[in-house]
């Protein structure tokens, strides 16, 4: 016991860690707890628990439609951003010297431009080219934002690829296209998969770009935002809890898969 107090820097470090964990989980736990509350307003103590709010939410047409719409946009974003991202990563990987750094910096730019700025500029852009706000515009905005993440993840993996794998494939009779599809792409697999999960999460979570580029049909973040504006209720907690659970499951599953493929 005494020895523990002598190690006060270690103790401080541990305490701060647990304080941080508390700070991280307390609001989330409150949110989840309230979603089971047996009353239509948020207050403490919780009193009786119920799953009525859940039943209500999953019968809510607007909510289900928003989910569907979000998933659709996320899927399209992911498909497009992955193809473009892998393409750009391969291009950057084949460049040498200064050109490589410049291309990389340009490819990463959309990830560091503030969301608001990028949203406004895209809005101005689609107005200029007479593209209506709505699905296409949203996907366009999300893709621009997601591509850099795919590029970085794929490029990292590409750089760890032994150079002579490609040589070996060429040597055994593969032209560059066959080499790409049969050797390079499978090698990049885990990184591409990781990048896709990232795209899904980025897109389904995006609010600012969707807000500026969207039409009348709301995505999930927009729906929740609209509901919050007309007053907090446990229903919102339910939606948020569902999003939290799905996101956590997808994230953990992705982590599990990449870890397994890394071991192999």
């Amino acid at each position: 016991m005494r020895a523990m107090f002598h190690d006060w820097p270690g103790l401080a470090l541990k305490s701060f860690y647990w304080l941080f964990v508390l700070y991280l989980f307390l609001p989330l736990s409150l949110m989840v707890a309230v979603s089971f509350k047996d009353a239509s307003f948020i207050s403490f103590p919780l009193g009786n628990l119920t799953i009525d709010w859940y039943a209500k939410v999953i019968q809510d047409k607007q909510f289900l439609d928003a989910c569907l719409y979000t998933i659709m946009i996320a899927a399209a974003t992911t498909a497009i951003a992955t193809v473009i991202g892998v393409w750009i990563a391969m291009l950057i990987g084949s460049l040498r010297g200064a050109a490589q750094y410049v291309a990389f910096a340009v490819a990463c730019l959309p990830a560091v431009v503030p969301g608001m700025i990028s949203a406004i500029s895209l809005r101005i852009f689609i107005t200029t080219i007479d593209l209506p706000t709505g699905t296409v515009a949203i996907i366009l905005g999300h893709v621009v934002h997601a591509v850099p993440f795919v590029v970085v993840m794929v490029l990292t993996r590409l750089r760890s690829m032994p150079g002579n794998l490609v040589d070996a494939a060429r040597d055994l009779g593969a032209d560059s296209i066959v080499t790409f599809f049969r050797v390079t792409l499978p090698y990049l697999g885990p990184a591409i998969f990781g990048g896709m999960i990232f795209c899904l999460l980025l897109s389904s979570d995006d609010f600012v770009r969707t807000f500026f580029l969207g039409g009348y049909r709301p995505t999930l973040p927009m729906l929740i935002f609209a509901r919050v504006q007309s007053g907090m209720s446990p229903e919102i907690n339910v939606m948020a809890t569902l999003v939290l659970v799905v996101t956590a499951v997808v994230g953990l599953y992705a982590e599990y898969l990449t870890r397994r493929s890394r071991i192999r």
């Binding site: 032994p162 794998l165 040589d167 070996a168 040597d171 055994l172 009779g173 593969a174 192999r264």
Partner: protein, 360 residues
């Protein structure tokens, strides 16, 4: 018979640096040919030019009589075994070996037959379904070898394929590689900087230095009759005695070294009195004894260092003032010899002469 590979006046430069120069080399079908030389002498570059991964700056490369100088790697009938194997990590052993066959359009039944045949050749039948990461170093080595052999190349190129293995396994693999080469009758072109590897496996050794061929020949000839000081010192251990010719008679030369006169067979050389010359004296050609030996060359010396190595003893013997000769003798030969007073001797045929101007 037409050589399977012909390098004609090949030169390769990277910018102003000349990596390979004036390379002329014919390789006969079915031979085990080794490119041997120190690091950076251009061995890999030569091999990569044949594989199609580098384009010669000048000259032509013919493969089975066809000019392939500008043909891309996927359209020449040669295969490489890479130093770190370069097995496809996401494919099973069988898939790796089948890769080249599939691209050649061989039908499935035949591919399966060939793959199991090759796996059997290296006793890896039970490993067909494994991934490369689930194999030992030696097993990966064998799979890489079989993958390269599978499409039946005109020449198999091996770039230091054994250097990643530990010493014991390396020796086993040397023997195995040679056996596989003999069994399949394939032409092997092997690159190494390890002279022992070259001596063990090769039909022909091509010694390279500074991007040029220094000498080529079968291992025994190269070892016994090195044409330059570089070859003499690079291939095996040697005593290189810098001497002056004092006279010749009947195919023998008398040379002066360290105050003593050495009689040495002149071989193909015709040295003249006054020429500077190297005498190549292999350590195992030296005999040591307490009594004066009955050979052409003998001198008294002192043992400066004696290292027991099991089946032989390695000695450093000082002759005169500060001249050391390395000798390898049978342990029983030096038992009970006094350290400070022994005779060393060698016959006149045991040495080779090299003109000193060749000493690079």
């Amino acid at each position: 018979m037409q050589p399977v590979v012909q390098f004609e006046n090949i030169r390769k430069s990277f910018g102003s640096f000349v990596a390979v120069d004036n390379l002329n080399l014919n390789i006969e079908r079915g031979k085990f040919v080794t490119l041997l030389g120190p690091s950076g002498c251009g061995k890999s570059t030569t091999l990569r030019m044949l594989g199609g991964f580098e384009t010669p700056t000048e000259g032509r490369i013919l493969l089975s009589g066809r000019d392939v100088t500008m043909v891309p790697p996927n359209r020449r009938n040669v295969n490489i075994v890479f130093q770190d194997y370069a097995l496809f990590p996401h494919m099973s052993v069988a898939k790796n070996i089948a890769f080249g066959l599939e691209l050649k359009g061989v039908d499935n039944r035949q591919i399966q037959r060939r793959v199991s045949e090759l796996l059997e050749l290296v006793q890896l039948q039970d490993f067909a379904g494994r991934l490369p990461s689930e194999l030992s170093g030696g097993q990966r080595q064998r799979v890489a070898l079989m993958r390269a052999l599978a499409p039946d190349p005109d020449v198999l190129l091996l770039d230091e394929p054994l250097s990643a293995l530990d010493a014991k396994l390396r020796q086993t693999m040397q023997i195995e590689l040679k056996a596989i080469q003999e069994q399949t009758g394939k032409t092997f072109m092997f690159v190494t900087h390890d002279q022992e590897e070259a001596l063990t496996m090769s039909d022909t050794i091509v010694v390279m230095n500074n991007g040029r061929i220094e000498q080529m020949g079968d291992p025994a000839t190269l070892y016994k009759r090195p044409g330059s000081a570089f070859v003499a010192t690079f291939l095996g251990e040697t005593n290189l005695l810098h001497s002056d010719v004092v006279g010749t008679d009947a195919g023998e030369a008398a040379v002066r070294w360290n105050g003593m006169t050495i009689r040495a067979s002149a071989g193909a050389l015709s040295p003249k009195a006054g020429d500077a010359i190297y005498v190549v004296l292999r350590p195992e050609a030296i005999q040591c004894s307490a009594q004066e030996p009955g050979v052409a060359n003998r001198v008294k010396g002192r043992i400066r260092q004696r290292v027991f190595k099991g089946n032989h003893t390695s000695l450093k013997v000082e002759i005169g003032e500060g001249h050391l000769l390395n000798a390898l003798v049978h342990p029983s030969e030096v038992e009970g010899l006094s350290r400070d007073d022994i005779w060393v001797g060698w016959s006149s045929e045991a040495t080779t002469l090299i003109p000193a101007r060749n000493a690079a």
